[in-house]
Symmetry: C2
Subunit: 481 residues, 2 copies
């Protein structure tokens, strides 16, 4: 494609994205297509000869777009926010144009040095000790796996890397501790890294769904007595279900006392710690060995961009470094080669978009946007509390509200839980199919919960009001009156 | 950032990228900056208040750009091509704008269905059996790790996933086989997955640096006799050093005979198999259990986009699936949820750029561009063969030439190998510092080799001629005449 053709269609695509972001509110949030509907409209074999960009962009509009669930939609309240922003998209375009691989310093010095810089900016914004060094990973799943591998290698003196678990098996199985509310990536990491899912010890939670440190210590002690090797504890700051907060300080003190790696998964909630009034959620973080949080969730940076901090970069690089002849450079001792800071060799130039976002909005601008999301969540929580039909199912420390429709409240007669689950599933299905809002569910204890997660870039008070109206005005709710 | 501001700067950035791709030839290929030079020009703390896009783009131009090594440059001959194209960049911009997460079918049906479709298009282009199912991974490192994990779990009956290696240790260590020329990601994968680097058995290579199947079989048999568990063999189609080709059919037959998972790493070279006259490099691929090749290397798709095929998707998904309540959807049984096809939960919408590239160029257009690269490599090889000062150090089956300056050839007196290494390092350093071309090195046996890898989108005959002239005209070479 020559420069003029690129320029012509580039302008067209920029206009398309600008219009899209302006009009996204008018699309159904959740794609209404049925399984197979997109694929069956497309040829089953690749085209033998090239096609025009007009034809490709036309099919994008007519066939792909209806199959998109709009994560940028101001009424996207599902899962977690994956918020996005103009400066981030522009930087992603530049990064795609440059097409550099940030695997070594030499393969683009600016990509490595900018990554070091912006990760240090984030460190300052979160008020982490200067001993924390940062690297951008693709996802929190990967970052948590990196933490588990560091824990495994530090404990085994790098013997599992060298000789495998087989050489280590006489020492007894390695154990990892996380609360019952921890993310599924912890269990997945245990499988990948060879610990086995059965060596994940699920620690009890308190009534707010935060980890109970006493139960943690008890389980570590019991494991030691039974010949297991306590290796790592993962605390969650902002669980996926309800943004519950594990208390870092007591957990960190226990980890330190037992010589266990202390990893903190703040994938969603870490962003909130840039607010002075919310920094307490990371109280005790100086005891952590590693921390992950995702600017691609709630810091206006498009996916993927996961910030991984480690207090022992020498353990991290000893865990991951490889040095075949064809990757050696003359200056390996003077520079950071991020290929040694994680699983992948090849690395995208992700620092650019983070740099664009942090500069365009500034720390205060980002704080202001997060404060608005938090205030909207509190307001929605109050509507639930004041309602005669809905009840809150967990505290709301951040941006996510867990609740359910409970029509029995009016009459003082709670419905049986199966009936409640059936009703709330019907309600969820109804509002999601309407295309007006998109929410997801979870389970807390035995309770089936609706979840409303607030954090999209364009979400304003009116959209949260509309979500509330959609729920209240639904057939499922109205038919019970 | 409002739509009008996005539009305005979007047009500016598109023009910048168009100009950049047109003028990239005029930049030094290898960035000339010194360690720390980029970072020290930037503020050490994040800006408290937002800045203008003009300021950010100005710093991008003045500070970041000089620190970029230009992978798009037509005289980039280092490492491997990471070629790029207009349609790929445009699709990446759309993907960033949509900002969807392709973790589940429901979180954007079109992202999942398009990924299934374009991976099947690639399967057809490579003439793979229809039993191969594809998924896009970020890198070949990740894909090879996935293959190792599938091999581990199939052999252990999913017991290592469930209970860890500790529960499996009585069975004896698991062994993995690869040639001495295999990529470092195989060893790294063994570490991550808990096999241990010491359980990588390096199989001998023949005079062309391809794996010796007889040695493979011998080592598997010896291992069995000694109580090891042969688990996986990784064959390389196109090694990193010299694009050597392991013979798939005999290796596959041995793997089958011994019940060992057979993974094929064709990260670079797989693209060449879309040419009917080069399809023989994959002869025997129907015996493989998995295959990876990277459209982000040599198929005009910007990084990252790694194509992973597996003949046992049920093993792959059993290895990686997790299903916490908050990710369940009503249609999980009817659709593909790619979160279960790899390590990460969150996934970018990468299929879009592959679809744009395959449609814009068509199969024949892609074939034509690859044929040109292959012809240029043969021509460069002939220049080396005809030269009185340079010698070829490996066969050139594809796009990469391994050679060295050998001034003793004129006089019939070979220089000692230390002297040759010193001279060739000086030559490499000199031409790379000139900014005119960028090459890297490797080692084959005891020989230090210069490597010229041809495959950038804009590389034409004149650029390969210029590379040859740069080498011949260098001070290092001239001073020896």
């Amino acid at each position: 494609m020559d420069a003029e053709t690129f320029r012509r269609f580039g302008h067209e695509v920029v206009d398309w994205v600008a219009n899209y972001l302006q009009e996204v509110e008018h699309y159904p949030v959740l794609s209404p297509v049925s399984p197979g509907e997109v694929r069956e409209q497309l040829p089953s074999s690749p085209p033998p000869v090239g096609e025009t960009m007009e034809a490709i962009l036309g099919d994008f509009q007519d066939i792909i777009l209806p199959g998109i669930t709009h994560w940028n939609h101001p009424r996207f309240f599902a899962y977690f926010p994956a918020n996005n922003s103009g400066p981030s998209i522009l930087a992603e375009l530049l990064s795609a144009g440059l097409g550099v691989n940030a695997m070594l310093w030499q393969t683009s010095p600016a990509a490595t040095e900018l990554e070091e810089l912006v990760m240090d900016w984030l460190r300052q914004m979160l008020n982490l000790p200067s001993s924390f060094r940062g690297v951008i990973q693709d996802t929190a799943s990967t970052a948590t796996l990196c933490a588990l591998l560091c824990a495994r290698e530090r404990l085994s003196g790098f013997q599992i890397n060298a000789h495998g678990f087989s050489a280590w098996s006489e020492q007894g199985p390695l154990r990892v501790y996380a609360s019952r509310e921890a993310h599924s990536s912890v269990e997945k990491g245990l499988k990948i890294a060879g610990f086995g899912a059965g060596n994940l010890v699920l620690v009890s939670v308190d009534e707010n769904y935060g980890m109970d440190p006493q139960d943690l210590e008890k389980r570590i002690q019991e494991d030691r007595e039974q010949g297991f090797n306590p290796c790592c504890v993962t605390a969650t700051v902002g669980t996926t279900s309800s943004t519950a907060l594990d208390p870092l300080r007591p957990i960190g003190e226990i980890a330190q006392r037992h010589g266990v790696w202390f990893h903190v998964d703040a994938a969603l909630a870490g962003s909130a710690a840039i607010l002075p009034e919310k920094r307490w959620i990371l109280d005790g973080i100086e005891l952590a060995d590693s921390l992950v949080f995702n600017p691609h969730k709630w810091l206006f940076t498009n996916f993927d961009c996961s910030a991984f901090f480690c207090r022992h970069p020498e353990v991290l690089t000893a865990t991951f470094s490889i040095l075949p002849e064809y990757l050696k450079t003359d200056i390996d001792r003077q520079v950071t080669n991020f290929r040694d800071w994680g699983i992948q060799l090849g690395r995208r130039f992700r620092a650019l978009k983070l740099w664009f976002v942090l500069r365009y909005y500034g720390v205060e601008g980002l704080q202001e946007m997060l404060r608005e999301h938090l205030a909207l969540a509190q307001e929605f929580k109050e509507w639930i509390e004041e309602s005669r039909d809905f009840e809150l199912l967990a505290p709301v420390p951040l941006n996510t509200i867990c609740f359910r429709f409970q029509p029995g409240m009016r009459s003082g007669q709670d419905l049986p839980s199966e009936e409640l689950e059936r009703l709330n599933k019907a309600l969820l299905d109804e509002v999601n199919r309407s295309g007006r809002i998109y929410m997801t569910h979870t389970r807390l204890g035995d309770n089936f919960c609706l979840r409303l997660s607030i954090g999209q870039t364009q979400t304003r008070r009116e959209h949260v009001v509309q979500a509330w109206e959609s729920l209240q005005g639904s057939q499922t709710v109205q038919s019970m009156h």
